[in-house]
Amino acid sequence: MMIPFVLGYMIVAVLAVVLTMTGVIPVPVLSAPWVMPAPIKTLLATNMSIPAMIYVLVAWVLLAAIFYPFLKAIEKQDLKEEMEAVAEE
């Protein structure tokens, strides 16, 4: 699980840097309480900028897409072990 963890966030970081440097999303400037859910927090932190919130949702979808194959691989292995444990009985 280390690979999607590290890789996923690196890709998100690249996306964030590229989008901020080209000016598509604004530089967040206000401090919002860290316990607020991510899209709302970004809305507050960038002075109500909609592109920033859309970016967070897109980045969420991207993270889900990166984690999915690794999750499936672990699940396949776990299911196989479960089947073998049932078969042994």
Binding site: V12, L30, S31, A38, N47, M48, E75, L79
Partner: protein, 325 residues
């Protein structure tokens, strides 16, 4: 996979952990306590005052100045709060790690007083009423180095004050009162001689030698602050954070001890500029990381709902609603 984990555990993690356990790094980490709440509250006021919706702007026009007045509550005097917090953090470190029993209140007040020696009170001829042209004498402290610019000098003043205080107290160069004296009076006299040492030290540096300490220290740290604002720093810090978490070390704490101070300073400088309506000087501050990069593991919790393992989707369904960090 095993080799990679071993490599990180043996080569990358130990130096970083050793660095974050250094005395002054730990003190620096603790120097920003009690301050986050003020930043958030100031940001809420700033957000209310500067909401970019035209209907809202016309509605709050009469109270705009009042709203904007509280928006600088954390950022304008950040260095002052850092002096208090860093002197507290130093005393706390010594009390916890060296089992000393230093008093808290007197040295913290001493540190704040030393800060006002280093950033002196000045009397200037200036315009005090907006719109008038008459120059009147005005006595005050320049807020230039009271904000984010003076943070590093404030850290230094707080820590050095406590070090001198502790040195003098440990050498027992203090006035000891006889037995029958009440503890409050005895404490006041106990703090007298160390305070004299501290005040004379800062007086020599700022008034006699005329050194502008905050300016020199900011010039020394400016390259480091600028280096934290680069793209390379974003990738390095993100990568280190995640790799350390993967091997079981609190990545946020370790990376925060290395770069946390600089990221705070750049965030507050951005907020001060935003308040004044100027262009933002920095791009990759602590708030950038918080909002665009650490967007939480909610997607992972969500896709676990679709897993065939019943344990996965049973627990993840409620989790995915709330997990966002």
């Amino acid at each position: 996979m095993k080799n990679l984990t071993n490599f990180v555990e043996k080569k990358i993690a130990p130096p970083l952990i050793k660095f974050s356990n250094l005395k002054y790094v730990q003190i620096m980490q603790r120097s920003f306590i009690g301050f986050t709440a003020l930043l958030i509250i100031g940001s809420i006021f700033l957000l209310l005052a500067a909401l970019p919706i035209p209907a809202w702007q016309t509605m709050i026009q009469p109270v705009y100045a009042k709203l904007a007045a509280a928006s600088g509550v954390g950022t304008t005097f950040m260095a002052l709060y850092v002096v208090a917090a860093s002197s507290y953090a130093t005393i706390e470190w010594y009390n916890k790690n060296k089992q000393e029993h230093l008093d808290f209140v007197a040295p913290i007040i001493l540190a704040i007083a030393s800060w006002f020696l280093v950033v002196p009170v000045q009397t200037v001829q200036t315009v005090t009423k907006a719109g008038s042209k008459t120059l009147v004498p005005f006595t005050g402290v320049a807020t230039d180095y009271m904000g984010a610019k003076g943070v590093f000098a404030a850290l230094l003043v707080g820590i050095i004050t406590i070090e001198i205080y502790r040195f003098v107290v440990n050498k027992h160069w203090t006035i000891k009162m006889p037995e029958g004296v009440p503890p409050m009076v005895a404490d006041a006299f106990l703090a007298l001689i160390p305070s004299v040492f501290v005040i004379v030290f800062w007086w020599i540096i700022s008034s006699v030698l005329g050194i502008n300490l905050p300016q020199i220290i900011m010039a020394i740290f400016q390259p480091l602050v600028s280096a934290t604002d680069t793209v390379a720093a974003v990738f390095t810090l993100t990568f280190l954070n995640r790799i350390l978490w993967s091997v079981g070390i609190h990545g946020g704490n370790v990376v925060g001890s290395v770069a946390g101070t600089f990221l705070s300073v750049t965030s507050v400088q951005n907020q001060t500029a935003f308040q004044a309506g100027k262009a933002l000087p920095h791009m990759f501050t602590a708030i950038f990381y918080d909002n665009y990069i650490w967007i939480g593991l909610a997607p992972l919790a969500f896709i676990m709902c679709f897993s065939k393992l019943w344990a996965c989707w049973l627990y993840q369904l409620p989790c995915s609603m709330w997990v966002s960090h």
